[in-house]
Amino acid sequence: MYRYDEFDHTLVTERVHQFRDQVERRLSGELTEDQFKPLRLMNGLYLQLHAYMLRVAVPYGTLSSTQMRKLAYIARRYDKGYGHFTTRQNIQFNWPKLEETPDILAELAEVEMHAIQTSGNCIRNTTSDQFAGAAADEIEDPRVYCEIIRQWSTLHPEFTFLPRKFKIAVTGADHDRAAVRVHDIGLQMRRNEAGEVGFEVIVGGGLGRTPVIGQTIREFLPKQHLLSYLEAILRVYNQLGRRDNLYKARIKILVRSEGIENFARLVEEEWSHIKDSALQLPEDEITRIETYFAPPRYERLEDTVREFEVKRFEDRDFASWVRTNVTAHKEPGYAVATISLKPTGKPPGDASAWQMDAVADLAESYSFSEIRVTHEQNLVLPNVRKADLYALWQSLRDVELATPNAGLLSDMIACPGLDYCNLANARSIPVAQRISERFSDLERQHDIGSLKIKISGCINACGHHHVGHIGLLGVDKKGEEFYQITLGGSADENTAIGKIVGPAFSYDDVVDAVEKIVDTYLNIRSEDEEFSDTFRRVGLTPFKETLYAAH
C-alpha cells in the first residue's frame, strides 16, 4: 500500500487546519451558509435532509486494517455506530456534528486519510478495480497510476472550479470491474505492439440524467505522458464545458457537442504544448510509487489445497459462499474473498463499527492487513490463503458478514434515496430491502445466477440504474413514489445503457414487477445463459408482455 511521506503528511495536516479555520468562521457567523457551502463541499461535507454527511475518501478503494479500525472508531465516537460504503469506493458518515468535523478529519489524517475533493466541481477520488494486484487477468496494478493521479489532482489550482464534478477510473485488467466507460475519463491499461504498457484513454462517459458510454480518444498513451494528457483534457474541458446549465455541464455533453474527432483535436493541440513539460513522469517516480504496491510476501503454495476442497465438500453453506464470494487469485494457493455488505433486509453498503473492527482483525490474520472497498458497495480481502478460507468464513459468519450473494440478485446497488438525500424523488433502500426479502431464498438466487439490480432514487443516478441488468429509477408522480424499470444495462467491458421497459410501477408494485422479470428470464433462458445474455438475445418484448399483460 502507499504510505505517506513528509509531503503528504504536511498537506493533509495543513488541510485539516485550514478546514478547522473555515468551520470556526462559519460558527462565529463570519461566513454565511452560502459562503461556507463551497468550502465545506470541497471537503466532502454535505448538508442532507436530517444532518450533515461527511464523505471520506478511500483512494482507489484500498484500506489498511489500521485505517479500517479508525473508521470504526469514528463511527462509534462521532456517528451512530455505523458507516456507509459508497459506489465510488468511499465511506460516508451520516450523522456528524459540524463542530466536530475538523476533529474527525484530524483523526483521519493520523491514519493517512482525508475527505479532500470528495465533493465539489473538482477531480474526485480516482476509482479502480477492487481486485487490483490480485487479479489473474491484470497487465499491471492500476493503483500505481491511481496514486499518481491522486497526488496530481489534489488541490490542483487550475481544476478546482470546473463546470461540474469530474471522475476518473483506472483498470489494469481486460475484464472491467471499474466501469471505465461510464466515467468522465476512463483509463484502460494496454500493451502496445512493442510490448510497452500504457493507457487507452476513454473520455465522456457518465450516468446521471444523460447516460453516455465513453469514447476512446487515444488508443495508446505512454505512461510518462499520463499527467500531461489528463491536464490537456481537463484544460479543454475547463474552458469550453457548459456553465449555463447544471445538467449539461459534464464533459460528456461537451464531447458530444464537439464530436469526438474535434474534441480529440483540441486535446491533442493543447497536449502538444505541455507534453514535454514538468508534467512528464520520470521513470524513477513511477518506480518509487510501484515499490509501495509491490506484492505482499506470498508463500509458495500448491494451487490445489486439500483441506479447502474437503471443507467445501463437507459443508454446503461454505461451498455456497465459495461459489459466489471467492474469486481466483493470480498466486497459486491464494484466493480473493468478497465480504458482502448486502445481508437480507439491510441497507446495501452499511457496516457497523463492530463489523469494521472485525474485518480489520480478519485482514490482519488472513490478508496481509489489506482491505478493498468495491464500487458495488462490498468489501474484499484480496490475499487470502485457500487454506484459511474456511476459518475466515466462520469468523465472518459470527459477525453477519458471510452472506453468500456476491454477484447475485440481492447484491444490489442502491443510492441513499429519500431516506437521507434531499435530491431524491423516492426511497431506494427500502425497495432494495423488500427485493432482498422477496428473494431471501438463497437457493433460488443461486439458480437465477449473476444478476445486477441497481436502484437510484432520482434521475441523478447515484445508484447506477442505467447500467443495472435490471435498473430501477425512482420518479415522482403527483407526489407518489414510482419506479421506472430499465433492462439490459451493463458496466463491464460490454458497457450498455439499459432500455426502459414501459410505464413505471408504484412503490407497492415494484417488487412484484422485478419478480415477474426474473420469472420471465427463468422461463426463457437457455441452459447456462445469464440474465444479460438472455436479454441480448431476446430484447425487451418478452418482458414487456409478461409485465403489462394484465393491464
Binding site: F7, W152, L155, R235, N238, P282
Partner: protein
C-alpha cells in the same frame, strides 16, 4: 475596490473603462470589444494599456497583441466560474506574458492560493478584511503536487532532490 499586489494593499494606478466612458489620461484598461474596435487610436495614445476579458473570452483572442498590454484583467463573474484559472495559465505558460494578471469579480480569500499558483499577481477584492487574510491564505497549505505558474516547487521535484536516506 481594494487591490492586493505583492501581498499588500496597493494603490491602483490603472483605470478600468466601460465602453461608453471617455478615454482618460494615464494607464487604462479597456474591454476586448473596445480594443478590437479602437485599436489604432488606443495605440496612438502611447500610455500603458490593459485589456479586460470576460470569462467567455480566452486570452487566445489577444495572443498576438499581448506585448502591447501591461495588464490583463480576467473576470470571475462568480467565484465558481473557473475558466480564468486556465486563462491565467495560458497567459503565463503559453504566451509568456510578463505584465500584471489581475483577478476581478468573485475573488475571495479562499481562492488566493489557487489564483496565485495559476499566475495571477493582482487581486481586486471586496473589502480590506481580505487583504488582512492574504498572508495566511497563501501560506496555509505549503505542499504542492503539481507544477504551476508560480515559483513553488512541487513535491515531485523536492522528493527527487532530497538526499538518499
Amino acid at each position: 475596490m481594494p487591490l492586493i499586489k505583492e501581498g499588500v494593499l496597493a494603490e491602483d494606478s490603472w483605470q478600468s473603462l466601460a465602453d461608453e466612458d471617455e478615454l482618460r489620461e494615464g494607464p487604462i484598461v479597456v474591454t476586448l470589444e473596445r480594443w478590437q474596435s479602437e485599436r489604432d487610436s488606443l495605440l496612438a495614445r502611447n500610455t500603458p494599456l490593459g485589456v479586460r476579458l470576460r470569462s467567455d473570452q480566452s486570452p487566445a483572442l489577444v495572443a498576438e497583441d499581448l506585448e502591447r498590454f501591461g495588464l490583463v484583467a480576467l473576470e470571475f463573474p462568480k467565484f465558481n466560474d473557473g475558466r480564468a484559472y486556465s486563462y491565467a495559465r495560458l497567459l503565463r505558460d503559453r504566451y509568456g506574458f510578463k505584465g500584471e494578471v489581475r483577478a476581478v469579480g468573485g475573488v475571495f480569500r479562499d481562492q488566493f492560493l489557487l489564483m496565485q499558483r495559476c499566475g495571477f499577481d493582482a487581486f481586486e477584492v471586496a473589502d480590506k478584511a481580505a487583504v488582512e487574510a492574504w498572508e495566511k491564505a497563501i501560506s496555509e497549505i505549503s505542499v504542492t503536487y503539481q507544477p504551476g505558474a508560480d515559483a513553488r516547487r512541487p513535491a515531485l521535484a523536492l522528493r527527487r532532490n532530497r538526499p538518499a536516506a
